[in-house]
Structures are given as C-alpha cells and as structure tokens.
C-alpha cells in the first residue's frame, strides 16, 4: 500500500497541472487515499466539509508533499486544522511536521457540543412534510398549478395534428406530475399512438414549450 502510494504520488507529479494524465493519476490517488487506514474520522459537524476541502487541498499541494514524511499524517494535519475553522484561507495553514495539529479529544468534545443533524434517505419524507407546510408561497407548487390550469391555453393547443386530445398538458401531467411518473411508451400504449410519434412530439414541441413556461417563474431575489 505504502509503495503503491509513493508510486502514485510520483505519477501525479510527473504530469503538468490540468493535464488529463495528472487528473487521472489524481483519481487513483484519491481512491487509494480513501482506503488508507488512519485517515481521521469524526462526528464533528464540520467534518464532511473539512474532508471535502482536504481532498481539494491535497490535489493542489501534492507537489510540495515531502516524500520522506507520512502521507496520512500530512493529510490528517490539514483535515484536523480545517475542522476547527472551515472558512479561513489556506494561506494561514502551517503544517507542523509530525506533530498532530489538534488534540483529538478536544475535537470530539467540540463536536458533541454542537447539534449534528443526521440526514438519511428515509428521513427526507418527514423533513419535507414539515418544510413544505411551512412555506407559504411555494414556487414549485405554483408551477404545477400553472400546468394544471393552463391559463393561456398554450399547453392544450400544443397537440398532435391528428389527435387534439393528445396535448402537452395531458402529457406533462402524466410524464412529469404523475407519481410515479409514467413512461412515454406506457402513455403511447394507453392512447394507441406510435411510440416514436409521441416521443418526437414530446421532445420537439412539449419540452420547448414547458421551458418557456419555466422561465415565467423567476428566481426569488
């Protein structure tokens, strides 16, 4: 592992910055780094942000890494420093050689004093239920209302030439608003229309029209 690591660092350094060869070597170095034992882990709320910043810093500074030192110590040194302050400039960082930069207990205690919200896939529903209810004017909801109401009649007017019933409003409701969204092939079967006809109508006429409508809803300042 250690040998592989040194070989990869040398490979990264051999190529000029921004070259595809260097970026590919960095891919390998990052993947290996993530498997290394001893990379510092913490439940501190800043940990994931700091880890992200550390990967970026490593990619930028790998040329100045001293190959005679421990890579893991070098990595953890910056990471622990970053956890303590996410927003100061890299210029303020002075790597202390082999000394651990921060006391681990100190970091952990700090982490425990700040509430650390846990995000999870199955928690999204519950989170959104409250969050959505709290928002008085939901722009996303207004967009859906627009599609359902079609106040200017644009969506219903955008239909297959031979089939006025097969219009953009119906398709948008089935493909985009329906839960779960219907597949174009399924709608084609239901309406007894050729798949390709429906697909090209959707792509050529409906999507551009819906893009126009999307633009009505300006980002809030």
């Amino acid at each position: 592992m250690e040998e592989e690591l040194r070989r990869l660092i040398a490979e990264v350094r051999a190529y000029p910055s921004s070259s595809p060869q260097r970026r590919k070597a960095l891919n390998k170095l990052l993947m290996l780094t993530q498997k290394l034992r001893g990379i510092y882990r913490s439940t501190h709320p800043n940990y994931l942000d700091a880890l992200d910043r550390t990967f970026e810093w490593v990619c930028k500074n790998i040329d100045v890494f001293n190959l005679e030192r421990s890579y893991v110590v070098w990595f953890n040194g910056y990471l622990k420093w970053r956890i303590r302050d996410l927003y100061i400039s890299d210029n303020e960082y002075i790597p202390s050689l082999d000394q651990p930069v921060a006391n681990e207990d100190e970091l952990r205690t700090l982490g425990e004093t700040i509430a650390h919200p846990k995000f999870s896939l199955s928690g999204i529903d519950l989170l959104l239920k409250t969050e959505q209810e709290e928002q008085r004017q939901r722009q996303g909801k207004a967009v859906w209302e627009y599609i359902k109401q079609d106040p200017a009649g644009k969506l219903t007017q955008c239909h297959l030439q031979k089939d006025p019933q097969c219009h953009c409003q119906l398709l948008a409701q089935e493909i985009l608003l329906h839960d779960p969204p219907k597949k174009i092939a399924q709608i084609a079967r239901e309406l007894n229309i050729k798949n390709q006809t429906l697909y090209s109508h959707w792509n050529r006429h409906c999507i551009p029209l819906l893009r126009e409508i999307a633009l009505i809803f300006e980002p809030k300042p």
Binding site: P20, L26, L48, F119, L128, Q139
Partner: protein
C-alpha cells in the same frame, strides 16, 4: 454488478449541499417531487466537489436545476462546464437500483451522465462512473455500462477543443473565430448577409509554412438540418495554396468522409455537406507529414 468490486470514489456531502437541497425541495408541490429535487441537488453538489478537487471549471449559475421554474417542471440535475458550453447530468442512483434512468428533458446539450450512488445515510455518495452522451435514446441504462471517471476526464479533454457551431447562431463565438471580411478582404463584396446563415474564419498556424484561413459557413435549413460549407484559403498576399495540401472531413470516429487536394494553382478548397444537430465532425488539413485538426459540434 460490476461496480461492487471496482474502485469507486467517495464524495462527502457538505452542509451547504443539504441547505440547498432542503430549500429547493421545500418549494415543491408534493413530497415525491420534493424528494426528487432533494436528491438531484445533492448529486449536483457532489459532482461539483469532485470537479473542484481536480480544478475542472464548473458552475450552477446557468443550471436548470438551480432555477425554480425548471426544477419544478423537469427532472434535471445539470452542472455547467462553461469552457465546453456543455452540461454534465448528475443522476442519483438509489440503493437497489441497477440502472441509470435518463429523463428525456436531460438529453439536450449534455456532455454525458455521471451516476451518483446514494446510501441510507446522506453523509457521502459514491461516483459510479460516466456515460458519454449518445444518440440512442435508452431511457434506462444498466449501471454495468458505465465507464470510469477517467473516461469523463478524457471526454472533457477532447471537448475542450470542440467548437460549438450551434452557439454561432446565437452570436456566441470563441475569440479566434473572426468575421470573414477581416481575414479575407477579397470576400467582402461577395458575401451577402442572409438570415439563418453565419460565417466565421480562423487563422491556422503551422510551423515554417505560410498560414491558412479556415472559413466555416453554416446555414439552418427548414428541416432542422445544418448545411456546412468549409473553405481553406491562403493567408495574406499569397494567391495559391501549397500544392499537395490536403483537406479531409472526418466523422465522430475519425473516419475520412470527404477529401480534396490542392493542385498547382488552387486558390481555395471547398467542402460542402449537411449535418444533424449534435453531429460531431472534424477537419484535418495536412501537407506531407504535418497535419492539424479542428473539431466541431453542430
């Protein structure tokens, strides 16, 4: 599945990513739509982080998923690569899912697709790989068909010198592409401005040989096709092209589709052809062992 054994890159999800995701998802009409927006936002933020590590320029300023109207209507997770004028689509993959589902609204102007694997804990994601944009419209692509992140880097590298001709119709040109009259004064009287037609020229430099001018004229036709006329002129006061100069038209795979050669007194060489939107072609100009190639996307 292939990706279980191979090496994947893990990207931590930042606090700010969750803040955006929550904010965008809370605007939505339903919980289901909100969840889609939440995961799309996280996926885009994760790919941004990765590109940031490798110092690859990217922005969400023009992203549809960052616009309230677009993200409410479409299932989009697009990230702009401004140097290429193209987008990367960052597609969330949920636990147990074994295909990448590409929505029809996420096909236009995409360089390709990055699969972003989520786990129950939303602390980090894994980048499953990259799928270059392709013309075949499969709505679901098995994860086993994803290529590595190295392929993404190669695609970005190749893309960096693909001139986007579609942007010409919108008046967007790279600096080296100049109005034709300024490069070939004799053409000043002959070009009649027409609607749906754009012409630009570029000086092509070689070592130790007189420079050339590559002129590209594109015309939109009513059928959605684009007609392309390429001309190679000598630059400056030189009247003729060097004898033996060869101009070849290459398709996306580099296969020669058309070619012309300069004779003893050739003033210019011209190639005419028509393209479909998203077609990629190259022009190779060669003389003896020297050659240079320009790539275009329609």
């Amino acid at each position: 599945m292939k990706h279980i054994n191979s090496q994947l890159l893990t990207v931590p999800l930042k606090q700010q990513a969750h803040i955006y995701a929550q904010q965008f998802a809370a605007e939505q009409a339903t919980i289901e739509k909100g969840k889609q927006v939440y995961l799309n936002t996280l996926a885009v933020c994760a790919v941004r982080s990765y590109l940031q590590w490798l110092a690859i320029e990217n922005t969400v300023a023009q992203s549809e998923c960052w616009h309230p109207g677009f993200r409410a209507i479409f299932n989009v997770a697009d990230l702009d690569l401004p140097q290429l004028g193209k987008k990367l689509e960052c597609i969330p993959v949920l636990p147990g899912q074994n295909a990448l589902v590409i929505p029809p609204e996420a096909i236009e102007n995409r360089l390709g697709y990055v699969g972003v694997q989520f786990r129950e804990e939303l602390e980090e994601v894994e980048l499953l790989g990259f799928l270059p944009a392709q013309k075949t419209r499969h709505e679901a692509i098995p994860l086993t068909q994803l290529k590595s992140l190295d392929d993404l880097i190669d695609t970005i590298e190749r893309g960096e010198w693909v001139e986007n001709l579609r942007q010409w119709f919108e008046g967007v040109f790279q600096l080296e592409w100049q109005p034709v009259e300024s490069l070939v004064p004799s053409l000043r009287l002959k070009t009649i401005p027409r609607q749906n037609t754009v012409s630009r020229g570029k000086i092509m430099h070689w070592e130790n040989k007189p420079e050339l001018i590559l002129v590209v004229r594109i015309t939109k036709t009513t059928l959605g096709k684009v007609e392309v006329c390429l001309r190679i002129y000598p630059y400056g006061d030189i009247a003729h092209l060097l004898p033996g100069l060869q101009v070849e038209l290459l398709d996306e795979l580099g296969t020669v589709c058309m070619e012309q050669q300069a004779g003893k007194k050739t003033n210019w060489i011209q190639l005419d052809f028509s393209c479909q939107p998203d077609d990629i072609f190259g022009v190779r100009i060669s003389l003896g062992e020297m050659s240079m190639t320009e790539q275009f996307i329609v």
